[in-house]
């Protein structure tokens, strides 16, 4: 890991990502499509990319419903989509 990177955990899994990117970018780059489950349990991911649609909501550092597109990754950040079991 070089100094340009930070390590976050996505559903309990440590992932090294480029500093300064958004949480949404980190998840997509990690191959994740589904950020949340809708009220009728269908898969949803980012739609607007700019904080309007609330489709990319997930839990960041134990705070629910945060918009992944508006939050920048930080070292040690814990992201929980509820899509994969925590380890």
């Amino acid at each position: 890991m070089n100094t340009a990177d930070v390590t976050i955990t996505i559903d309990g899994r440590a992932v090294t990502v480029v500093r300064g990117i958004s949480v949404a970018a980190a998840l997509i780059n990690d191959g994740m499509h589904t950020f949340r489950s809708s009220v009728t349990a269908t898969s949803r991911g980012p739609l607007c990319g700019m904080g309007v649609c609330y489709e990319c909501r997930l839990e960041i550092d134990e705070v629910a419903h945060r918009r992944a597109c508006l939050v920048t990754v930080t070292d040690g950040q814990r992201i929980n989509t509820g899509q994969r079991p925590r380890q």
Partner: protein, 372 residues
């Protein structure tokens, strides 16, 4: 212009009370027309919390809420899912020993009316609702209480009325109640029975009826399933509801079927000013946070205001008040609960039957009777 149609009864207002009255009157074989200035279930019915709750501010109030709650229980098996009937029960929360004494008093009152309730110790309260702050004295659990989604309940009651032959006309504002008829713009529609179920606006239509709007604020959170499991009300709520001060707030939250938390309550006498008062809203939220500190971490997605139809003695007006003119209004914050009981009483009185509970305390003429 006289309307060609002929109805036995006209119900003014398609809120939950009007809808319930339309159902009982049409069930009795009356040809019912429901008129609403806007749309069904869109007034106070939509603005309120939606509880089925027993209240004992007065013996009459307890009788009406208990009777109505029983009617809701009978309906529960046939209610569609959209009504979101959730038998979550109510916990009356006591902050200190003095309030625990009140809890025990309340428990005795309920027991005297064969209403099951359970006194909760501080530990038991915490076990049932871990998000309540520690240090509370205890509470009273009333398992029979429930919450539901009022607009859907009103729609369902209207649907039942329609099945009995009732007609519902929306966007149809009654301008005037005249002898044996109502006037809607230039149209005059006649009926033998005219039921004023216009909620907070009932007094505007019939100035003789002592009903005033009592404003409230509500806030709803983002989804937080399991945050609370019962309707929670502070014991001081009764005082807030009872005393007609200009402004009061009390802790009252509900779990909604969506997983959201609905947060109340405030009461203000400010006429028809529906503006969100940020100071009152903040006071109300602060009161809620005092009981549930974890609310701090929840987001509020929406806030709004509404008007309760309030009367001086906190009892609704149900019955006849002039020739051909009847009323079922003034239910303050209990219209969802007491809609069914009120509608049965009204239909009984219209048909000349004896209601299941004493109707005199709800008579619109009661102040005149008391004065005589």
């Amino acid at each position: 212009m006289k309307s060609g149609e002929r109805h036995d009864a006209i119900v003014i207002g398609a809120g939950i009370v009007g809808a319930a009255c339309a159902r009982t009157l049409s069930r009795d074989g009356l040809k019912v027309l429901v008129l609403d200035a806007a749309f069904a279930g869109g007034g106070t019915t939509a603005a309120g919390m939606g509880h089925i709750v027993l209240m004992d501010d007065s013996p009459e109030q307890l009788a009406l809420t208990a009777y109505s709650a029983e009617l809701w229980r009978e309906l529960t098996p046939v209610l569609p899912r959209s009504v979101e009937m959730d038998p979550c029960g109510t916990i009356w929360v006591a902050e200190d020993d003095a309030q625990m004494d009140a809890v025990r008093e309340k428990q005795r009152t309920y027991a005297a009316h064969d209403i099951p309730s359970e006194t909760l110790s501080a530990a038991r309260l915490h076990g049932l609702e871990p998000n309540l702050r520690s240090g509370l004295a205890g509470g009273l659990l009333v398992r029979g209480d429930a919450v539901l989604y009022p607009p859907a309940a009103a729609l369902w009651l209207l649907e039942k009325a329609r099945e009995n032959g009732a007609t519902i006309r929306e966007s149809c504002r009654v301008d005037e109640i005249i002898n044996g008829a109502v006037r809607v713009g230039t149209e005059v529609i006649e009926a033998d029975v005219i039921v004023n179920a216009a909620g907070a606006e009932a007094g505007t239509l019939a100035p003789a009826l002592p009903i005033v709007p009592r404003k409230g604020h509500l806030a709803i959170s983002d989804r937080a399933p399991g945050f609370c499991r019962h309707q929670l009300v502070e014991l001081g709520y009764l005082t807030s509801a009872h005393v007609m001060t200009n402004e009061s707030v009390a802790f009252n939250v509900q779990p909604r079927s969506t997983g959201q938390v609905l947060i109340g309550s405030s009461r203000e006498l400010v006429g028809w000013d529906g503006a969100t008062n940020r100071r009152v809203l903040a006071r109300m939220l602060e009161r809620a946070r005092l009981f549930m500190p974890g609310l701090s971490h929840l987001s509020i997605v929406r806030t709004w205001t509404g008007f309760r139809p309030a009367t001086i003695d906190k009892l609704p007006l149900i019955g006849q008040y002039a020739a051909n003119q009847w009323v079922a209004a003034g239910h303050e914050g209990l219209g969802i609960t007491t809609s069914l009981g009120s509608a049965e009483i009204l239909a009984d009185l219209v048909a000349g039957r004896t209601p299941a509970i004493h109707a005199m305390p709800f008579s619109p003429m009661r102040s005149a009777v008391a004065a005589a």
